[in-house]
Amino acid sequence: MKRELGREVTDGIPLVPVKVRELAPGVSWIIGCIAVGHGDTLIHSHASAYLLTGEHHSALIDTGYPRHWPELDTILDELLGDRGLDYIIPTHPEIPHAGLVRQLIDKYPDSVVAGDVRDYHAYFGIPEERLRAVPEGEVLDLGGLRLEVADAVILDLPATVWLFEHTTRTLFVADAFAYAHKHADGECHLLSSELPDQPTAEQIGFVTSRALYWTMFAELEPLFARLDASLEHFDPAVIAPAHGSVIDDPAAILPHIKAGMREVSRL
């Protein structure tokens, strides 16, 4: 029997099925939304993972929530078949991004956790021989897909990486470019250009105030200048956040993201 006390109870909120969408050949978006109470309504927050399957190697960027393991387990079987997973790359060691590293390490005995690998031994008990530090600027050649570890311009934890895939020009941005979406409108798998509306300041602020609390107190313009420089350098066609819809029209969405972050700023 489930027993709950207290004023704010989230159990009972419906679980959202994990979905998969191919963004480009070899790049799959694994969509693990969670429903969250927000006032009198429910909204969704993505906790996405991205599977990259090159000709020689495969990589999973972020892991999603532990509660999604049974579905992720099946999805990986379907997408990878017998080829296995080579790189597990959490963008940072928080639960929605790294909470399944143990399961993945156990499922794929030849895999390594790659990227900024500090904390994973202490936090998750990952053996040191299964950790591969990949410094900023180094490229993992997956075969047809080339994944570069990039500076995380917007982050909350120090051990955060962004990643850029050169062939598809996809930039994986961890907690940045985050925004919630509606619960009942089937929007979980939609790209930004397919959504009926541009992200609102409220949708951006909902995630930003939780995942990037400090940016509410930040000098945003210097931060945005660094962001613009990063975007100019990589020139991404697609921006793939962990906590927001995949952005296939970055130039159109970027002003809304900035506006939303300015809106929730406390300065």
């Binding site: 639960i95 936090y123 982050l155």
Partner: protein
């Protein structure tokens, strides 16, 4: 390897009332939340409040210390009824909660805010024995700002003004102790046998000491130098000003004792933005 750096240690901070359970990690670059420092070590702390027949564990440490933490808490608690609370849902607070629940017979866990079930997280991190079912665990959810009783201990939860993710600071008026989760743990011990409590104010005239302090602040809160942090630090200062705090009990590093020490740390934090201009890298 971290496992052999040293054993988990127990310090009786307030006789018969407050214990610290501290497990060491090396400051060799393998952790991100403290600066590299070959002359010091890091402690990951949990705290046990005790009264006759009752005990409360605040946070549960990181996974590689599971056995040390469980054994230490068991030794403190004995046959008392144990409840657990966690200040935030991150791997250094949740890391061993599954082991603690399973091995020490915990029936109630208290969390703050609108989080999902803690076992959604800990099952994955902990890798402990598969004997705890969600339905067997009573989860008490409290607001971030509240006064309440947990297993007989009067506590106040305070929304942490200086934080990464949603975090509750916990205050015990009876013990005059503020549990600050991942804040104010910026002084690292010189050895495994070091005093658990820092009793010397940060010397703001000592550039080396201030630089070391800032290095540890920046390791955890690298973005602080990019913020107009006055609002955060004013709010943090108000938490102390409005309460009678003798001890600060963070998740990492040494505890702090006394207003002069606490005030010196607040002053050191206020110097951070000027020490590291806003154009600086954020980690």
């Amino acid at each position: 390897m971290n496992e052999v750096l040293g054993p988990t240690r127990v310090d009786e901070i307030i006789p018969g009332r407050l214990f610290r359970v501290a497990s060491p990690l090396p400051l060799d670059g393998s952790i991100s939340f403290a600066a590299v420092d070959p002359e010091r070590v890091e402690w990951v702390n949990c705290y046990v409040l005790t009264s006759p027949g009752r005990a409360l564990l605040i946070d549960s440490g990181v996974r590689i210390h599971a056995h040390g933490v469980v054994d230490a808490v068991r030794g403190i608690v004995g046959d008392s009824v144990l409840e657990v609370t966690i200040t935030r849902t991150e791997p250094d607070t949740l890391g061993n909660i599954f082991h603690v629940i399973a091995e020490l017979g915990v029936e109630t866990v208290t969390i703050f805010g609108n989080h999902v079930h803690p076992l959604d997280f800990s099952n994955a991190i902990d890798g402990g024995p598969e004997v705890v079912e969600k339905g067997d665990l009573m989860v008490s959810r409290r607001p971030f700002a509240d006064r309440f009783e947990l297993n007989g201990f009067e506590l106040e939860s305070i929304p942490a003004p200086m934080r990464v993710l949603a975090t509750a600071w916990l205050y015990s008026a009876e013990l005059k102790t503020l549990f600050t989760s991942d804040a104010f743990g910026f002084v690292k011990p010189l050895s495994l046998d070091d005093d658990p409590v820092d009793r010397e104010p940060l010397d703001l005239q000592d550039e080396v000491a201030v630089a070391l302090f800032h290095a540890n602040v920046r390791a955890k809160f690298g973005w602080l130098a990019q913020t107009r942090s006055d609002q955060m630090l004013d709010a943090a200062g108000a938490v102390f000003a409005e309460r009678d705090v003798d001890l600060v009990a963070p998740t990492h590093g040494k505890m702090l004792a006394g207003s002069p020490v606490i005030d010196s740390h607040l002053a050191g934090l206020r110097r951070l933005p000027s020490a590291y201009p806003i154009e600086g890298h954020n980690r």
